[in-house]
Symmetry: C2
Subunit: 167 residues, 2 copies
DNA sequence: TCCATTCCGACCGCTGAAGTCGGCTTCCCG
DNA sequence: CGGGAAGCCGACTTCAGCGGTCGGAATGGA
C-alpha cells in the first residue's frame, strides 16, 4: 500500500466538505455518519488538515469545519503530505528540505563510486506519484464523484507545475 | 514507503547479476558481500525471483544464480511485483485479474451511487507508478550504475507499453 | 566423501497503522 | 447562566507485516 487510511479518510472528508458547499460549518459527526467512518479517528485526521491550513474549525455548539480555500486551489500533494507525511519510494530516499529537490541515497554512502542503480528507479517512480498528486485538485475529485468524468483539469498549464525531482 | 527492502535488495541483486555478465553462476554469498546485504535474507528474496522466472539457479558446489534473460528484457514492473506483490495505492484498490484491468473500489460498494471520489486519485497515482516501472528495464539500471546517464531508454516506443489502468 | 551451495520452513522482535478512550475546552442557545 | 453540542488532545491498545535469523535438508562438483 502506498497510502494509509489516514489519506483515504482525509480525502473523503475533504470531498464531503466540498460538496457541502461552504455555507456554515459542518460537524464531524455528520461527516462520520455519511461516510461511515469512525468519528474518534476522524478527529485526529482532521486535526492534521487543520494544522496544514487546509480546513478551518469553529468550536463550541453548532461548530464544525470548513474548507479554508476553494476546492480548485487545494492540490492533492499538499493534502497527502499533511496526512501521510512525505511520500518516498524507499526509506533511503530523502528529500532534502533545504529548498533544493536534492535526493540522497544513503547506501553506498561512504566508499562507493557512483550512485546505486536503484536510485534511478525510485526517482522515476516518485516522479510519477508526485506528478499525479500535483495535477489533481479537490475540485477534480468532487466533479468526478458527481458522475461527470468531464471538466477535469487533467492537463494543467505547464507553468503552474511545481518542480519535480528528475532523474 | 512504497516499496519494502525486499524490492530494494532484489533489484540490487539483479543489477549485480547483470554486471557479472552471464558467464558461470554467481554464488549468493559473493553478492551478499559485495552489496553488504544479509545472506540469509537474500536467499529468501532470490527465491521469489526464481519462482517468477527472472533468475535461474544451479545447485551444489560452484552453483549460483544467473539472469534467465537479457537485462533489456527484464522490466521492473515484473520484478517489483515478484518481490513485493501487486502494488496498489490503497487496500481497497483491487486489480481484477480476469484479463481486464477493471478496478474495484470496495467502499460505497452496496448502496452508493457512482464511484467514490478517491478512486480517481488512486487510479492516477497507480498509473504513474506502473508507467514508471514498465518503462524501466534492468539494462537501464545497469547503465545508470556505470555512471552513464545517457543511453537510457527513457522514452520507449508507445506501442510497446502495456495497457495501463485509466480513470 | 567432503564441502560449498541452494532450498525451505519455523521462528521472532519491533515498528507503525488503525483505532479507542477519557477528559478537557469552547461557546451557542434557551 | 448553565447544559449540551461540538472541537481538542494525549495516552493507550491491538495487530499485521516487515525485516530479518536459524537449523537443517537436498544437491552436486572435486
Amino acid at each position: 500500500m502506498i497510502f494509509t487510511t489516514k489519506a483515504e479518510y482525509g480525502v473523503r472528508l475533504l470531498v464531503d466538505l466540498g460538496q457541502a458547499g461552504g455555507g456554515d460549518p459542518v460537524a464531524l459527526k455528520a461527516i462520520a455518519e455519511r461516510e461511515r467512518l469512525p468519528l474518534a479517528y476522524l478527529e485526529r485526521i482532521v486535526a492534521l488538515l487543520r494544522k496544514a491550513g487546509i480546513v478551518e474549525s469553529t468550536r463550541g455548539a453548532r461548530g464544525g469545519y470548513l474548507l479554508s480555500r476553494d476546492p480548485s486551489e487545494i492540490r492533492m500533494d499538499e493534502v497527502i503530505e499533511a496526512l501521510d507525511g512525505p511520500i518516498a519510494p524507499m526509506s533511503c530516499f530523502i528529500d532534502d528540505s533545504t529548498e533544493g529537490q536534492k535526493v540522497v541515497c544513503s547506501h553506498h554512502a561512504i566508499d562507493d563510486t557512483g550512485p546505486c542503480g536503484t536510485k534511478l528507479l525510485w526517482t522515476r517512480v516518485q516522479g510519477g506519484v508526485v506528478r499525479a498528486l500535483q495535477q489533481t485538485t479537490l475540485a477534480d475529485l468532487i466533479a468526478f464523484e458527481r458522475g461527470g468524468v468531464g471538466a477535469l483539469s487533467t492537463q494543467r498549464p505547464v507553468g503552474e507545475e511545481l518542480p519535480v525531482v528528475t532523474a
